[in-house]
Symmetry: C2
Amino acid sequence: MPPVIPRRIANAFGAIRGLYEFFLESDFAQRGHLPGANLLVVGDPQEMALPGFVAALRGQLEPQNPQWYAYKLDERPAQEAAAAGLRQRTGIGFLPEDVHLTNGAFAALTVAIKLMGDPGDELIFLSPPWFFYEAIILAEGLTPVRVKVNPATFDPDLDAIAAAITPRTRAVLINSPNNPTGRIYSPEVLQGLAETLTALSRRYGRDITLISDESYSRILFDGNRHHSPAAYYPHTFVIYTYGKTLLTPGQRMGYIALPPNMPDREAWRPVLIAGRHLTGYAYPNALMQYALPELEMLSIDLEALRARRDRLVPALRGMGYELHVPQGTFYLLPRSPMADDVAFVKRLAAGNVFVLPGAAVEMPGYFRISLTASDDMVERALPVFAEATRTA
Amino acid sequence: MPPVIPRRIANAFGAIRGLYEFFLESDFAQRGHLPGANLLVVGDPQEMALPGFVAALRGQLEPQNPQWYAYKLDERPAQEAAAAGLRQRTGIGFLPEDVHLTNGAFAALTVAIKLMGDPGDELIFLSPPWFFYEAIILAEGLTPVRVKVNPATFDPDLDAIAAAITPRTRAVLINSPNNPTGRIYSPEVLQGLAETLTALSRRYGRDITLISDESYSRILFDGNRHHSPAAYYPHTFVIYTYGKTLLTPGQRMGYIALPPNMPDREAWRPVLIAGRHLTGYAYPNALMQYALPELEMLSIDLEALRARRDRLVPALRGMGYELHVPQGTFYLLPRSPMADDVAFVKRLAAGNVFVLPGAAVEMPGYFRISLTASDDMVERALPVFAEATRTA
């Protein structure tokens, strides 16, 4: 008798099958780890970790009391440092007790989504999405509702969101700066979204929660500023991870933060404790919590990322690729010279250049380049990009 | 509009309300952190972490390559070390690729339970249980079915388990060595359980999974041996955590291991990857995975635990307490001299001695003592125990 996979897990699996095939079976899976592979696939480090990151962990390693490695919920100094960082960046008066620490944004999103509803309840997410939004919603037994962004601007389509909201809508999930489009939502867009959600919450007699994935809020180019929707809509769960800003996704830490003007933030507190317990004890490890105040001050070299962007964009355009200039995040999103982006990605892989097919992020006909590649990888990739489009 | 808590989360919350009240509101919550508190409540360290634990982390802190802190799934050396440890302890030929690493046993249990079924499907757990079994099952939208252990022996009641199994039963969850009873299930008991599960799986045409929580498999006294049910029943998910053996529950690492004679173990592999992704990326941090081969060789001082057990048991009996001698785990489980164990625990707390009321583990009329207290705490607790029972 083969194992019977539960229906909701099979559904979730369906939403990530393409991604799994790419990561577990493709050319990338088979040859991406070999020497000479040029890795422009995901936001993973291709250079040594920040010395400050290692120093921050080293500085907290030696136990300072018997409970140093005991069970941790939210350590107050970590909450205070995270709240201070949020206040400084957003201008919103976030309080330490409203920062609910998690072992990364994946966990923060899972906890937030888990707390949104019961089977039959709907969550709206925007397409193109991060890989796992739909799968997490399905695995929680909820109903995902996909709304396409405006294809010209990559901004949320407020009319389409309004049209998708029903009495069963419990939350809308957005991501700015956006993976994969690099778009930062403007104050005007966020104000419009807030008005839409407020009006429809009133119509249906229940607050619609805005889950705001702000994983890339510190990965900004050209003096662009990030705007948190929490400044416009009080029923916002702000999701953050240190894994992008520090480029250390293997040491997981992030949080769910609630703005001080959310009327229910005290009622949410015990629920968010339970939500983290019931997501496999999704608190960050003790060592990461102790290091948080130092880690909060650190960032990877954004200038190096920008330089890579500005090396790649004109070079690719010169080869005939069509692509826009991202305002933030790690990613470029060129159109694939072949309609079949998976086939084109395979062609690049033959030249040892690994990128993500657009199909994996609901952008068929595109491919995604991560700027977290090293400069050497970028230089070695350029002639392969040139050759691949000549023969496409 | 206050937040509307989803029904399954409210149900789960109901199952842990008493526990939360104790940990967030009781005397322990208010005064347990003050100097002079004698903490016999949970399996948390009251002495400095093992020097070998700190050394193992320190030895892996400096990046050895650019991907040192990149996204981690299962690191092969960690799987190999964990499988070698399992093989040595159980005599079962566990393979590295069947060790699915998680950030602790809480995550491993959540992943396993998540993969068991859809709403309407039933999971059997034994009472007295670990705090969170019922809540995890409810949060996953499944139906928990409670079966009491034999009250005389604390062994599973096989007739009661057989009677509780229905066509909707997907899994049975057991825990040996058992928290809170300290009972180690014998080969005979496990053989009987395997026969019961095999017969009823056949009757209903679907394999019932045995989820075996072996968190305390290395916390053994008096030369007792732990027996894994995986040796008797191939459809077993073995759950383990390093947090008990090392007494470092704040740095989370554990696993789900499948025995080599499980017919479906290859089919489970991608499902277990998805299960960890969909439990908030429930992989252990990179640093913990690198340290695993060294951590696998380490253990807290079991002799000190045993000595504390053997100091407390006769001393408490001499005061008139009734209690049995645990075969393993951290816990003593005396009868409360007052029928109301919560009131009795409050009386001990007035003397600065903190223990867990039996009500929190479905053992009303008992209280639980953790042997992870320091020797000083134990000595200071003894006169308080004596005084409390004199006046009970």
